[in-house]
């Protein structure tokens, strides 16, 4: 008797195991971030398939639920190969996978995170990918239970002209109410409240905003640093 399931997934990280095997960490739609052994995953054919960011169909089986288990994987969309020649998009893909790998708990369903990551990977083909990346991290925070409340100003209750986020509460603050404390508040890019695409400076603000809360609520309590790939992405928008 064995346990098995099939699911849609995105490859988050891969580690070589032995000479031709690999341990793949996948973000699945219904089973969350789930590792498994892929026989031949470190070999010639498996390496192309098991690239971070690739959308796959995965079949997992093990004798007991708590075991590592083994995956059989088929490629659905080769997102990694599509962005390899584009340094910015490749950095974003690597950052998205690294942040998912670092923040999502293992074997805990997070379907909203899966949907957000899949949407971001699809958006890599468009020019709107930087804004969608920030939305992916916002969705990740929300799905992990640390969502930001950007519906109205924490001080005045107004829903317009929101320009800051309180680092203490994660609630939006209007420009007027936040003016006296603007140095201590986090900038809220307009595209997060009004939709549309953000300019480079707004993307930078968005990345700083999500990084602050991911670090405070998820990474720091686990004594983990921000993944280097995510830091490199933020660096691209700083310059």
């Amino acid at each position: 008797m064995s346990i098995q399931w099939a699911d849609e997934a995105v490859v988050l990280a891969v580690q070589r195991h032995g000479e031709s095997g690999a341990i793949a960490s996948l973000l699945t739609r219904a089973h969350g971030r789930h590792p498994g052994l892929v026989h031949g995953g470190g070999g010639k054919s498996g390496r192309g398939l098991l690239q971070p960011g690739n959308r796959v169909q995965a079949w997992w089986h093990a004798r007991l639920a708590e075991q590592l288990g083994a995956y059989r994987i088929e490629l659905v969309t080769a997102h990694a190969a599509a962005v390899m020649d584009d340094p910015a998009r490749l950095a974003a893909l690597a950052a998205a996978c690294a942040i998912g790998e670092a923040t999502l708990p293992e074997r805990e369903p997070h379907p909203a995170a899966f949907v957000a990551l899949a949407a971001f990977l699809d958006a890599l083909a468009s020019e709107a990918w930087p804004s969608v990346y920030v939305h992916w991290e916002m969705a990740l925070l929300r799905d992990l239970g640390y969502g930001l409340d950007l519906s109205s100003c924490a001080a005045t209750g107004r829903a317009d002209d929101l320009a800051y986020v309180s680092p203490r509460t994660g609630r939006a603050v209007s420009r007027e109410a936040g003016r006296p404390w603007h140095e201590r508040l986090l900038a809220l890019p307009r595209f997060l409240t009004e939709g549309g695409e953000g300019e480079a400076a707004e993307i930078r603000d968005g990345l700083s905003l999500t990084a602050f809360f991911l670090d405070r609520h998820v990474l720091a309590p686990q004594h983990r640093d921000m993944p280097a790939a995510r830091a490199r992405l933020a660096e691209r928008f700083r310059s």
Partner: protein, 197 residues
């Protein structure tokens, strides 16, 4: 069943790539049976390699001389520098015989899992080589993986201010490869990198 020395030999052989415990046992038995023609020459070769082989201080290759034979060869193209992940990649390029320039071994790729950052790739050493002025083109021959290409882009960005031409290996259909058997990523890379005939 076997003596301590043979058991140790089997143990060590089984750590080699391509050998498991059963094949290591077979190899050990073969060595012991061919004592004069194989075991002793192999022991001598291993001892000599352990004593003499070192890392080239210029490119990072392994050789018994420093600088290595490639770096010390005046017939090689000194204006071309190929950047590779490791010595295995360098040997693969040498085996092909298609490249007659010089090399630079990074010693790894940017990897979050392995904790390798830009500072671990020896980029200042690479920049110093280029700064000497003889190199006109740097060919980035890192693997066609997310880690490999991320590393290539980081290296390229590091080298751009030095005014040197930076190129990368093409990705696409391998020689003898039928499209039917290729993965979607390779096919899309090949279509993107198509060339006029």
């Amino acid at each position: 069943m076997v003596g301590r020395e043979i058991e140790r030999l089997i143990q060590l052989l089984s750590r080699l790539p391509g050998l498991g415990s059963r094949s290591a046992r077979r190899a050990a038995l073969h060595l012991v049976e061919k004592r004069d023609t194989l075991l002793l020459p192999l022991a001598e070769a291993l001892a000599a390699a352990a004593e003499k082989v070192r890392t080239c201080s210029v490119c990072g290759n392994f050789d018994s001389v420093d600088p290595c034979t490639i770096c010390g060869d005046p017939r090689r193209e000194s204006t071309l520098l190929c950047v590779v992940e490791d010595v295995a990649a360098l040997w693969a390029l040498e085996r092909s015989g298609c490249f007659r320039g010089r090399y630079h071994v990074l010693g790894g790729l940017l990897s979050a899992l392995d904790g390798i950052g830009p500072d671990d790739l020896g980029l200042p050493r690479l920049a110093a080589r280029i700064g000497e002025g003889a190199i006109a083109e740097v060919i980035l021959a890192t693997p066609a993986t997310v880690e490999g290409q991320t590393t290539a882009h980081v290296v390229a960005e590091h080298l751009t201010p030095l005014g040197v031409k930076v190129s990368a290996l093409a990705h696409g259909v391998p020689v003898g490869g039928a499209l039917d058997y290729l993965d979607d990523g390779t096919i899309s890379a090949a279509v993107k990198a198509r060339r006029a005939l």
